[in-house]
């Protein structure tokens, strides 16, 4: 078993080296596909992390009328706390709301100083659980908005859902594009392995004549495709890493505005392993298709 694998790898590597100019072509084709896929995974990962972060802090804001009574407020609080999809409820008084406003928007603070009364309403800030359904939140929102003492209910989940949809769109577009490129890469590998097969047709004939099993003849060619695929993925990851490092300062500034993440991070270990294994799988497929000519 191990001797057979060693034979496959040794023969495949020798073949890749002999036909290196053609092999470089297929390695680059796979590298382009893997680079595009990696880039989209990177962007989708950051979008997902932002969505997760925002989801955790997704809030339902229940604004209270200035004239609402303590009893009405208690009733609202009790309804909110009794709802399973609510993770936490915090009361923000008019004074606390004003202080927060002044802290968050210091340039607008003078405007509030000139106002006779505090214009900001008291509110309940409701943090929602991460697994709550949109319909359940809608029902809660509708119920609370009808309660006495409640002026308005704001639910910021709607645009978050839109962001999630946008993220999914980006991810699926990326996957589709990468899929087309992967197909092109698989075809290139198939043709490059076919060239190698053609160059070694005498050798294949000899192997057939001595009664070598098909797996023994085809194995090196499949392995050759896998080597090309794996190398392509490694090249793509290296390029992605270099591109990320070189553009990190600009990207971080951009990301700070776009995503609520501290800095741009490289792909996770799982994604890196997935890309390499995926590249090898594509190469393997190309090698298999090409070597099907041997029978």
């Amino acid at each position: 078993m191990i001797a057979g694998l060693t034979y496959f790898v040794t023969e495949a590597w020798a073949s890749v080296w002999r036909g290196r100019s053609a092999a470089i072509l297929s390695v680059l084709t796979i590298a382009i596909a893997a680079f595009v896929l990696g880039l989209f995974l990177l962007v989708a990962g950051h979008v997902q992390r932002t969505v997760d972060q925002w989801s955790r802090s997704a809030e339902l804001s229940v604004y209270l009328r200035d004239e609402s009574t303590d009893g009405e407020r208690a009733a609202v609080r009790n309804v909110l706390r009794a709802t399973p999809s609510v993770a936490a409820v915090e009361f923000v008084s008019k004074t606390a709301a004003l202080a927060r406003f002044r802290k968050n928007f210091p340039e607008l603070a003078p405007a509030t100083d000139s106002a006779a009364d505090n214009p900001l309403p008291a509110s309940f800030e409701v943090r929602l659980g991460s697994d709550q359904s949109a319909a359940a939140v809608e029902r809660l929102s509708a119920r609370v908005s009808r309660m006495a003492g409640v002026a308005d209910v704001r639910y910021d989940r709607r645009w978050l859902d839109r962001l999630v949809s946008l993220g999914n769109f980006v991810r699926w577009t990326g996957l589709l594009l990468a899929g087309v490129l992967v197909l092109a890469a698989a075809l290139t590998v198939t043709n490059v392995v076919r060239l190698s097969l053609y160059a070694r047709r005498d050798e294949i004939e000899i192997m057939e004549l001595v009664g070598a099993p098909l797996s023994f003849i085809r194995g090196p060619f499949v392995c050759e495709g896998m080597i090309q695929g794996g190398l392509g993925a490694v090249v793509a990851l290296a390029l992605l890493r270099v591109a990320l490092t070189l553009s990190a300062p600009r990207l971080s500034a951009l990301a700070a505005g776009l995503f609520e993440v501290g800095r741009i991070e490289f792909l996770s270990g799982l994604s890196v392993a997935g890309l390499i294994v995926g590249g090898m799988a594509v190469g393997c497929l190309g090698g298999l298709v090409a070597s099907r000519r041997i029978h």
Partner: protein, 256 residues
């Protein structure tokens, strides 16, 4: 020059294989069940196009341990017959039995197993240029799953028999034509074949080298291996003096 054939005769070769506990070819019949005829052909025809016969109604026998020549002019059908015996071609009609196997009934995996019981030698040597002499010969054993130590030992033995043990690390293109053919013969013999098929094995060699190669075939045959050599060289056939099966226009014209 080559060492004497007695250095590795058939009995020793077979003994080495049995000692190693290795198959001499999957599916080979036990000695008790082995037919006395290794090649048994009845009414064989091979047609490539409408009314274009490469072989027509060929019937012939080659006994176990026999050395026979297949002769005839170019286009007589010698190579086609050998290709059928190697199961590279399938007959259009007729029956071909080799060591009791009906070649028409073999599936793809059976063909592989069958070929492992054969040895072949061609005019153009069919060596892998990027592999050394040793690697070219040991390759035939590797696919049999023979243990590494046995593979190496048997490869050295057979290279010694053809007198090329000192060129084991050379590449085929570094050898003369005669030496390359001796490597091909070593490869043909290393797996203990039931039958060795040779297609114009001396076609690229001068007369002296041709005789030397023929002597190797004779020694191989003296060890018990059945040998069928296709050649159009009448002088060589006369010199070796074995049974001749003559083909002309795809039909057997003489068998003596």
């Amino acid at each position: 020059m080559r060492s004497c054939a007695a250095s590795w005769n058939a009995r020793e070769r077979r003994g080495a294989i049995l000692a190693a506990g290795c198959p001499t070819g999957a599916g080979t019949l036990s000695s008790a069940a082995r037919p006395n005829t290794v090649i048994e052909i009845d009414g064989l025809s091979k047609r490539y196009a409408r009314e274009v016969f490469a072989l027509h109604d060929v019937t012939m026998r080659v006994g176990r341990g026999e050395f026979a020549f297949l002769t005839g002019p170019s286009g007589a059908g010698k190579t086609t017959l050998l290709r059928i015996l190697l199961r590279q071609e399938v007959p259009t009609a007729g029956r071909v039995l080799v060591d009791g196997r009906d070649l028409a009934a073999l599936g793809p995996a059976d063909v592989q197993r069958y070929r492992r019981t054969l040895g072949f030698v061609f005019q153009d040597f069919k060596l892998i240029p990027r592999k050394t002499v040793f690697e070219n010969v040991i390759f035939a054993l590797r696919i049999l799953g023979v243990p590494d130590v046995q593979q190496r030992r048997r490869t050295f033995q057979v290279l010694k028999w053809v007198g090329l043990q000192h060129r084991a690390n050379a590449f085929p293109l570094e050898l003369s034509g005669g030496e390359q053919q001796r490597v091909a013969i070593a490869r043909a013999l290393v797996n203990e074949p039931v039958l060795v098929l040779a297609d114009e094995p001396t076609g690229n060699l001068d007369p002296d080298l041709a005789l030397e190669i023929m002597n190797l075939f004779r020694e191989m045959n003296a060890g018990g291996t059945t040998v069928l050599v296709a050649t159009h060289d009448r002088e060589l056939i006369h010199h070796v003096g074995r049974r001749t099966i003559a083909l002309d226009h795809g039909s057997v014209t003489e068998s003596a």
